[in-house]
């Protein structure tokens, strides 16, 4: 297999030493089938062990290795050398504070996932402990796509609204709320729609669809947000006219 020399330009930042982030160049002999993550591992193992980044599964499912590659948010295990020019710039995800090198601070988005109340909420009892809820394939299909989110947060990095203000609850958390709202086993929609009523809910989204474009798992958070707006409006009317009894 052939190798190709890639010039990596990697953002470095050590808060204990550096006043501002800076770029370091590494020249990496890449195998043709490598992803950017493999190039970073090469740097760590052979050129500079002080470089910090997150990774684990190397199979697009753990969501750790999101970074900005040549200006766009990507999973680096899924961004292949074969699709890139000889010079590649790697930076941390945008819209997040940098913790160290390519590692960003995720506290805010972790908090937001929690706000979505991402668990089954019931008014009625669930079935007995040895009985399943029946769920048709069609019913599963309704929300399945929104279960695919790996929490990589690329969508937040791409979102212009989140870039303006962290008050916006944002694409992945809204998709997650929507996922449970659509699940035939759940009865907690009214509670979750409360997060929309807040000023930082769904109404802040300006619908440029950058989140869905960035998403490596085809979750399509923009569609979730759109649908939730409709749901939110309906719920608002229902509550206004007392058509639902479950307002907490």
């Amino acid at each position: 297999m052939g190798t190709r020399q890639i010039e990596l330009e990697v953002m470095r930042y050590n808060p204990e030493k550096d006043e501002a982030p800076w770029f370091q160049q590494y020249s990496v002999p890449c195998e043709e089938d490598w992803a950017i993550l493999d190039a970073l591992i090469y740097v760590k193992d052979n050129l500079d062990s002080t470089l910090s980044y997150r990774w684990s599964c190397h199979m697009m499912v753990c969501g750790s290795c999101g970074m900005t590659v040549n200006g766009e948010p990507h999973l680096t295990c899924k961004t292949f050398i074969r699709d890139l020019p000889d010079k590649v710039r790697v930076e941390p995800l945008e819209n997040f504070p940098i913790e160290r090198d390519l590692v960003v601070v995720l506290d805010d988005v972790m908090q937001k996932l929690q706000l979505a109340k991402p668990y089954i909420i019931r008014k009625d009892d669930p079935p007995p402990e040895d009985e399943e809820y029946p769920q048709s394939r069609a019913a599963l299909k309704k929300f399945k796509q929104y279960t695919m989110c790996i929490n990589c947060m690329l969508c937040y990095s791409a979102c212009p609204q989140y870039g303006l203000s962290n008050d916006f609850i944002g694409p992945a958390a809204l998709s997650l709320a929507h996922r449970y709202n659509l699940d035939s086993r759940d009865q907690g929609k009214a509670q979750r729609l409360d997060i929309l009523a807040d000023h930082d809910g769904v109404w802040e989204c300006s619908f440029v669809g950058a989140c869905s474009e960035a998403c490596p798992k085809n979750v399509d958070p923009a569609a979730a947000i759109q649908q939730m707006k409709v749901d939110g409006t309906m719920e608002w009317w229902k509550q206004k006219f007392g058509l639902t009894g479950d307002k907490p």
Binding site: S56, C57, V61, E132
Partner: protein, 586 residues
């Protein structure tokens, strides 16, 4: 050092740790839980599991059959009381996940669907397309968010166990973002740190699977059980080691050598089954150990296919058709396209055996208890002897749930019965010593060894000496090599002196842990002079029930080779017999 007081500390927030945390929160919301994880919970490697989780579901199946498959699959090294409890609890736990929102795949009538899996006589593997572990992990993580008593410490790296008078008392951990040290004290500790596949060069395991919990327990004097049993998965992608789930073969994929011949029929797994009609427990649905061993022989005979990444065989799925592949196996389809450039709809995919799962681990029993009072171990880091000498695919995801819940009850009871002084000077001193050790590593300014260098040598020596086939000489060389690397690792200098997210330091700590796990694997492989399940000795080719129907127990002896003791296997109703993988045709 900061001090955190909890009733129960759980180290690890993968499937096992999360299931335990939820169970404790449900038992009593007053119990304070500290859930420590070196990565955010949803990054845990449970997310990578593709195929599914086993539990009896259909009316033509029975607990008895699941028991028999598991015990014979494990080559009679399973503790049968554990297996009995497991098969009985399995369906309930899988339904529990269903109630929590797990998006299991469904049948036409709206019931949860099950698929066939290697070594299983009936369809009993619950699945969520080919992302079963991912959905299980996210369902558990999301469900856990509703319990305020679960206090998470994400991206905290646990360093070592604290213990006093032979009892577990807590752990010391390092917060990655600050480099600050935390002293967690608790009445009971649950280890749920996952496996150690990264000690081998080709593996389906993620970067985080470095055997940390095993090493922490081992250093604290707790024995490691059955560490010689390392499962190779027969169908990993060459190069990256990425897994192509057994579900591929469950759906009807076949393995062929360079001549297009389905070679498994030459290794006691025939007769050949019709294309696209897999037969339970035969040919491609034989157990993993047998399939991986067959590859080894084909390679020796020169029947493998040379590729840019080394010798492979081919997995042919073309006869399944695009629709079935894309509906049932969308992720593996994408993985093969991305990482080896092969579209399985039109071409066979090159595959090879890769290290997948550690049957061995921290010695534990049916309650998840270890020999150290107050210390519990669950999930892949534990060896509760469900899996014996060879784990059946799809039993381990269920194991996380069944024994996560059971150990939670035990840990909660232990915490309730055993009060303990909140301030213990002896423990403080122990914690200080652990911190001093780590600070010493960080401050060291001289040294001519590197983490990557020693790690590479460790991986190669295990693959050589303790791989699919082993013998006296090879295992002996591996044991010596690991001891040498342990000594040399003292000369590693950490270049990164920062306190903030220092992955150079973390890499060294993980390497030390891996070397401890590697020591146990090499030594136990050397000690077991028989062939059983995943442990195949070329110099002792037969199973030897007279001498080795026993668990190996490796005890650390600082500065010396570990002591290996033997513990009887618990047999309730199935006497050792022959493992038959001819699909009942013989």
């Amino acid at each position: 050092m900061k001090h955190i007081q909890a009733d129960i500390v759980i180290v690890g927030a993968g499937g096992a740790g999360l299931r335990a945390a939820i169970a404790i929160a449900e038992i009593d919301p007053e119990i304070e839980i500290a859930l420590i994880s070196k990565v955010y919970p949803m990054r845990s490697h449970t997310c990578a599991a593709e195929g599914g989780a086993a539990g009896v579901k259909l009316s033509d199946d029975s607990l008895e059959m699941h028991f028999n498959d598991t015990v014979s699959g494990g080559d009679w090294l399973c503790d049968q009381d554990v297996v009995e409890y497991f098969v009985e609890q399995a369906p309930r736990e899988l339904v529990q996940l269903e109630h929590w929102g797990c998006p299991w795949s469904r049948e036409d009538d709206g019931s949860v669907a099950v698929r066939p899996f290697g070594g299983m006589k009936k369809k009993r593997t619950w699945f969520a397309a080919d992302k079963s572990g991912f959905h299980i992990l996210h369902t558990l993580f999301q469900t856990s968010l509703q319990f305020p008593s679960i206090k998470r410490y994400d991206e905290f790296f646990a360093l070592d166990l604290l213990h006093e008078d032979g009892r577990a008392r807590g752990v010391v951990a390092m917060e990655m973002r600050s480099g600050c040290f935390f002293h967690f004290s608790a009445a009971s500790v649950i280890m749920a740190t996952g496996g150690a596949g990264k000690i081998f060069p080709f593996t389906t395991n993620g970067a985080i699977k470095t055997g940390d919990g095993m090493a922490m327990a081992y250093r604290a004097g707790v024995p490691m059980k059955d560490m010689e049993f390392v499962q190779y998965h027969p169908t990993g992608l060459p190069g990256t080691g990425i897994l192509l789930t057994e579900g591929c073969r469950g759906e009807g994929g076949v393995l062929v050598n360079k001549d297009g011949y389905r070679y498994l029929q030459d290794y006691d797994m025939g007769p050949e089954t019709p294309l696209g009609e897999p037969v339970f427990k035969s040919m491609e649905l034989g157990p993993r150990d047998r399939l991986s061993q067959a590859f080894w022989h084909e390679q020796k005979k020169g029947n493998t296919v040379p590729t840019a990444w080394g010798d492979c065989v081919l997995m042919d799925m073309r006869h399944l058709g695009a629709q079935r592949i894309l509906e049932r196996l969308p992720m593996v389809h994408e993985l093969a396209v991305s990482y080896v450039g092969v579209d399985m709809i039109t071409d066979p995919v090159p595959v090879r055996p890769v290290v997948h799962y550690m049957m061995g681990g921290i010695a534990s029993n049916i309650e998840g208890e270890t020999p150290m009072p107050g210390l519990f171990a669950i999930g892949e880091t534990a060896c509760g002897s469900l899996n014996g000498a060879n784990r059946l695919g799809s039993n381990s995801l269920t194991e996380l749930l069944v024994f996560g819940k059971r150990a939670a009850a035990g840990a909660a009871a232990f915490a309730a019965e055993n009060d303990y002084p909140r301030e213990a000077p002896a423990l403080l001193a122990q914690a200080e010593a652990i911190v001093a050790r780590v600070r010493g590593l960080l401050q060291k300014s001289e040294g001519n060894e590197s983490v990557a260098g020693i790690r590479g040598e460790m991986m190669n020596s295990l693959e050589e000496g303790a791989g699919i086939y082993r013998d006296e000489e090879g295992t002996e060389i591996a044991c010596k090599k690991i001891a040498e690397l342990q000594a040399r690792s003292a000369a590693i200098k950490v270049n990164d002196k920062s306190n903030v997210f220092n992955t150079d330091l973390q890499g060294l700590l993980e390497l030390q842990n891996m070397l401890d796990a590697a020591e146990c694997v090499a030594e136990a492989s050397n000690a077991r002079k028989e062939s059983r399940g995943a442990h195949q000795r070329m110099d002792y080719v037969e199973r030897d029930d007279e001498n080795y129907l026993k668990h190996s127990m490796a005890y650390r002896q600082p500065g010396e080779r570990p002591r290996i003791d033997w513990l009887d296997v618990t047999i309730t109703r199935s006497q050792p017999g022959v493992r038959d993988y001819s699909g009942d045709k013989k």
